[in-house]
């Protein structure tokens, strides 16, 4: 399980993904009344995780060659296809609040997993 500490890596990716999504949501909400602004969104973690390049060269050090663009760049904000209001703005405050709550839960889930894995590690080396 802890051979390559993939759990920690995935939890960190998830937390980072939540942070990126939160920034996009903040931009949408701040521009909720900007004429002509089109809402953006980042795909959920499961989709991004599936589409992230796996396999290929395995990087064990930061200096090693990387095969793909890595996880972070797979999460690009995209325009949503929501219907715009008469002033060209397609932000729905309700939708954004909903996704903000979802992101908060995603983030705390990732952190809990991370924390718990660390705890298990700590226990296994005999520290409490």
């Amino acid at each position: 399980m802890f051979n390559s500490l993939d759990v920690l890596q995935t939890a960190m990716d998830m937390a980072r993904h939540a942070g990126a999504r939160q920034a996009v949501t903040a931009a949408n909400l701040a521009n909720a009344d900007t004429p002509g602004y089109r809402a953006r969104s980042i795909a959920p973690f499961s989709e991004v995780y599936d589409s992230a390049p796996t396999g290929g060269l395995h990087r064990t050090r930061p200096g090693h060659l990387s095969t793909g663009q890595g996880f972070g760049s797979a999460a690009r904000p995209e325009f949503t296809d929501a219907d715009p209001a008469p002033n060209g703005n397609s932000v729905s405050i309700e939708q954004e609040m909903l996704s903000a709550v979802e992101i908060g839960r995603e983030h705390s889930r990732a952190l809990t997993i991370y924390q718990h894995s660390l705890e298990v590690l700590r226990l296994s080396i005999g520290r409490r």
Partner: protein, 130 residues
Amino acid sequence: MTEFSDAMSIAASGMKAQASRLRHVSENIANTDTPGYRRKIVAFEEVIESGRATGLVETGRVRLDRADLERVHDPSHPLADETGSYEGSNVNLLIEIADAREAQRSYEANLKLFDQVRQMSSSLTEILRK
């Protein structure tokens, strides 16, 4: 961490923009009965830095509503012309109240998000503390 600070500054810019909009609304309401007063309107614009949309929002230039001023019939008014009427303001209280409500709603949404980002970053630092 940059994402959190980004999100926080974006939410703060949204609150600032809504607050300045609310200020113009209150100016309009205060001047409802000022003769010749034209309603002030601000438009929001997304901040573009070196061709890239930052997500930050700012208020654009203040413009005056070009709608016709309301003609008030009052022969005893000092500004009344020969027909006995003068030009009032073109502020519509109903529109201003609706505008204020919209600004309040958006402000609260931004505030809520700001609070959430703060919570997320503090739970992240909580891990470091252990």
